[in-house]
């Protein structure tokens, strides 16, 4: 289930996208925040998330038993993805509050925005994957 090349490429892309988004958002709000702080925030957040997700994927790979019914597999996998979504948001908000000392509402807006764009990007990456499979 885990694909290490996919996970690393996703990690790098998300760091770049995250920095662009967060700097754009701060500029839009008219706040003066340095590039270095934004980079530290995104780097810490995404690295921790990367290792958590990697751990979850390794656990799944180790203990996953493909059930007879496709439906149950999908449900379990969906629950894991929802768990990943919430842990991503929770950690993002926590680090943002610690580093930027921002209000909860401001943190939720920017973190939700980043996470939703990440999901869309991830879907695009996943979309290209089967196509590459055939080309190779």
């Amino acid at each position: 289930m885990m694909n290490i090349i996919f996970e690393i490429s996703r990690y790098i892309i998300f760091i770049i996208i995250g920095i662009i988004l967060i700097i754009w958002y701060w500029k839009k709000k008219g706040w003066d925040v340095s590039f270095k702080v934004s980079l530290i925030f995104i780097f810490i957040w995404k690295t921790i998330i990367f290792f958590i997700f990697l751990g979850i994927d390794l656990l799944i790979e180790e203990y996953w038993i493909i059930s007879y019914y496709y439906f149950y597999d999908e449900i379990i996998y969906l629950l894991i993805m929802i768990f990943r979504f919430f842990i991503n948001i929770f950690l993002g908000i926590t680090f943002l509050k610690i580093i930027y000392k921002q209000k909860m509402q401001e943190s939720i807006v920017i973190i939700l925005m980043i996470v939703i764009i990440e999901i869309i990007l991830e879907n695009i990456i996943l979309l290209v994957y089967p196509f590459l499979y055939f080309l190779t």
């Binding site: 289930m1 694909n3 996919f6 493909i66 496709y70 597999d73 999908e74 996998y77 969906l78 993805m81 929802i82 979504f85 925005m113 939703i116 999901i119 869309i120 991830e122 879907n123 695009i124 996943l126 979309l127 994957y129 089967p130 196509f131 499979y133 055939f134």
Partner: protein, 492 residues
């Protein structure tokens, strides 16, 4: 005198004319909620219809058929294509209506409306409609009008897409038991029942559309049917129509009436007789309920004061909370109501046909719980003219407007849009995660393995791109709406 004043005030409240009907603010609010829900849900449904069903037909069914046309039935393409295109046309009509109504309400300008009043015929609010002998208020007739429009579209879709669960129910109703594990029917019944029931439903809907547009001026002495009385009548009437299928199946299979259809008459036995008595009992119950609804009457001017202690699940309902609850409850009844009705119909029929079991009753009730909660919330907000009071309280409190695309939203509309956008955003984020799950499972080989045909994979990618684009677009619109309308919640 008091009554006349009330009528006058209700006329002054009238703000909008839609499809000839004059609407007051409560009705406008309810229709606005429905059109906003329709805008997003139907767009999503249309995208699914096109990217899955239509593309499947164009890129898979037609090429397969063209390869060996001789092995397929003559009308194979028609049977596949007809339900697909009917579904797409139905969704397109609903989408058009949603957009039309939304634009009409948001663009509404009272001065323009007054000018138009003189030019065209308007169905006034102070009238009483006669529908199957029931006396309906203007609002109730509007409900019947909307229900009939939806009923016509669904009846046509049901008849053309004859493989739906409803067809299965109709087939089950035509099978009459002859023994513990044996039932009988005739192909003439199975072939003709769907078209007869469709024609009856369309005829009833057409009658309802015409009847709901007619009416006599209201007078203080005339009393209208209660809302739940109307719902009991409609529910009993639909069950009666379906159970009549079984009644006539009994008559045509086990009596001399079989000669009319030119089929051989079956000999009745105890199983058939027992079932026939059950059918008669259900018919009598339905008729009693329908008759009862004629006596559930109220004066059109029954009114109550807005009670400060209105609560829902121990939550105090302020005007804004009430509007948020109403919007979410209507969304809930649309999302959960249809599956609940499906389960209720299928399990209800199976319980009737194959003996009653307690576990079956539990499996009927559990999926209906969200729909029941939604119904309870709607009733809590709407009953006894509370909605009008809530709307008045919101509109009188302060005037905050915001711009949403090219429309100006008042505080009431902003609250509605905000609450529905939050719900839709959660749904579309969930949908994106679901797509992610499917794509990951496909890559990891848990789901269907890679096809050997690159064309199938290409079709999968096209579907994925369309669904993700539509999903992202709708999510973006909802986030934009939340951003624009969030001040409505913050205000007093």
């Amino acid at each position: 005198m008091k009554v006349e004043e009330k009528y006058e005030s209700s006329l002054n409240d009238s703000q909008l004319v839609l499809l000839g009907f004059e609407l007051n603010r409560s009705q406008t609010t309810l229709i606005l909620i429905l059109s906003f829900i329709g805008l997003f849900m139907v767009t999503f449904e249309l995208a699914i219809g096109i990217s899955f069903n239509l593309f499947q037909f164009i890129f898979v069914v037609i090429p397969t058929y063209m390869e060996y046309p001789e092995v397929y039935h003559d009308l194979y393409l028609y049977y596949y294509f007809a339900p697909v295109i009917t579904g797409i046309i139905k969704s397109s009509i609903f989408l058009f209506l949603s957009v039309y109504v939304l634009k009409k309400i948001l663009n509404h300008n009272s001065h323009n409306d007054i000018k138009k009043k003189s030019k065209r015929k308007i169905i006034q609010q102070d009238r009483i409609v006669n529908w199957f002998g029931l006396k309906l208020s203007h609002g109730q007739s509007l409900f019947i009008f909307g229900l009939s429009l939806v009923g016509i579209l669904y009846s046509i879709e049901f008849y053309i897409g004859s493989t739906t669960y409803l067809s299965r129910i109709l087939e089950d109703l035509c099978f009459i038991p002859e023994g513990p594990n044996r039932a009988t029917t005739h192909i003439i019944l199975l072939d003709n029942v769907p078209i007869i029931i469709t024609v009856i439903f369309i005829a009833l809907c057409l009658y309802s559309i015409i009847a709901s547009r007619r009416g006599k001026p209201a007078s203080p002495s005339k009393r209208i049917v209660k809302n739940y009385g109307l719902l009991i009548f409609i529910g009993s009437f639909i069950i009666l129509l379906f159970i009549l299928i079984r009644f006539f199946s009994h008559l045509f299979l086990f009596t001399d009436l079989a000669n009319i259809l030119g089929i051989s008459q079956n000999a009745p036995n105890s199983y058939q007789t027992e079932d026939f008595f059950r059918v008669i009992a259900i018919i009598i119950i339905c008729l009693i309920l329908m008759t009862l609804s004629y006596f559930l009457k109220e004066s059109p001017n029954d009114d109550t004061k807005l009670n400060d202690k209105i609560t829902w699940l121990r939550i105090k309902l302020t005007p804004k909370r009430a509007i948020i609850l109403l919007s979410l409850a209507i969304l809930g009844i649309i999302v959960f109501g249809f599956p609940s009705l499906t389960i209720f119909a299928i399990m209800g029929i199976s319980n009737y046909l194959y003996n009653f079991r307690v576990e079956s009753l539990i499996s009927i009730i559990i999926p209906c719980i969200p729909a029941i909660f939604s119904c309870y919330a709607i009733v809590k907000v709407v009953k006894k003219h509370r909605l009008k009071k809530f709307i008045d309280a919101i509109e009188d409190s302060e005037e905050i407007t915001c711009k949403w695309f090219k429309f100006n939203l008042n505080l009431l509309n902003s609250v509605i849009f905000f609450s529905l956008s939050i719900a839709f955003s959660i749904f579309f984020i969930f949908s994106l995660i679901l797509m992610n799950v499917n794509a990951r499972m496909l890559i990891s080989g848990i789901s269907i393995p890679y096809s050997v045909n690159i064309f199938d994979e290409f079709l999968w990618i096209i579907r994925f791109v369309i669904m993700m684009s539509v999903n992202s677009l709708l999510l973006a619109v909802n986030i934009y709406t939340i951003k624009k309308t969030k001040h409505s919640i913050k205000s007093r």
